[in-house]
């Protein structure tokens, strides 16, 4: 049995500790996402005003759909922009 030689890596393997993602709505018990509350919805859109994907925010499918619907309604009422260049920085 080949003697197990310790494998030397050129670069140290960076195993980033995978932060366990959790759905913040389930955790904090929020049941309804209000489309009128633009400040709260701003947490779920990026600089360009686009909706953040689930893999970044870690929300569950059920609440991601509610967030998406609320953001789209807020956009319809001009509370959120459809496309923005520096949404969060100019406040």
């Amino acid at each position: 049995m080949a003697q197990q030689t310790d494998i030397k890596y050129l670069t140290p393997i960076s195993v980033d500790i995978r932060k366990k993602k959790y759905c913040r709505f389930k955790k904090s018990g929020i049941k309804y996402i209000d489309y009128k509350d633009a400040e709260f919805l701003k947490k779920f859109i990026n600089e360009q005003g686009r909706i953040l994907p689930r893999r970044l925010t870690g929300t569950s499918l059920k609440f991601q759909k509610k967030v998406a619907q609320a953001v789209k309604r807020a956009r319809h009422l001009a509370l959120l922009p459809f496309v923005a260049d520096n949404l969060k920085t100019n406040q």
Binding site: K31, Y32, R73, R75, A78, L80, F82
Partner: protein, 123 residues
Amino acid sequence: MLNHYETVFIMTPVLSEEQMKETVKKFESYLLEKGAEILHQENWGLKKFEYPIEKKNTGFYHLIQFDAEPSIIKDFELQYRRDEKIMRYLTVSLDKHAFAYSEKRRKLRKEKQQKEEKEGVIL
């Protein structure tokens, strides 16, 4: 069977104060005449848009929360479409979570207003 509804509409900023009030009154009376029960109203006043609508950058927002028969919603929205002072409208039905949320929000707003009146700050 009465459902819970919430409608937000935006009026052109070019209106004067009483014209704005009169259009709100028009929709309110339309609802009451159709047997709806208005629970709550909020006037957000003049607000800036995030993007220009019909070449304008501001508008009067008004919110009405009401219970109504589902059948009246279609021609209620027809009224919106006919009225050219309304730039945009959104009617949403509230499920039980949404309705509970709006109750809580209304209570919060009332407390905030009372607190402000107590401090003599006129909202």
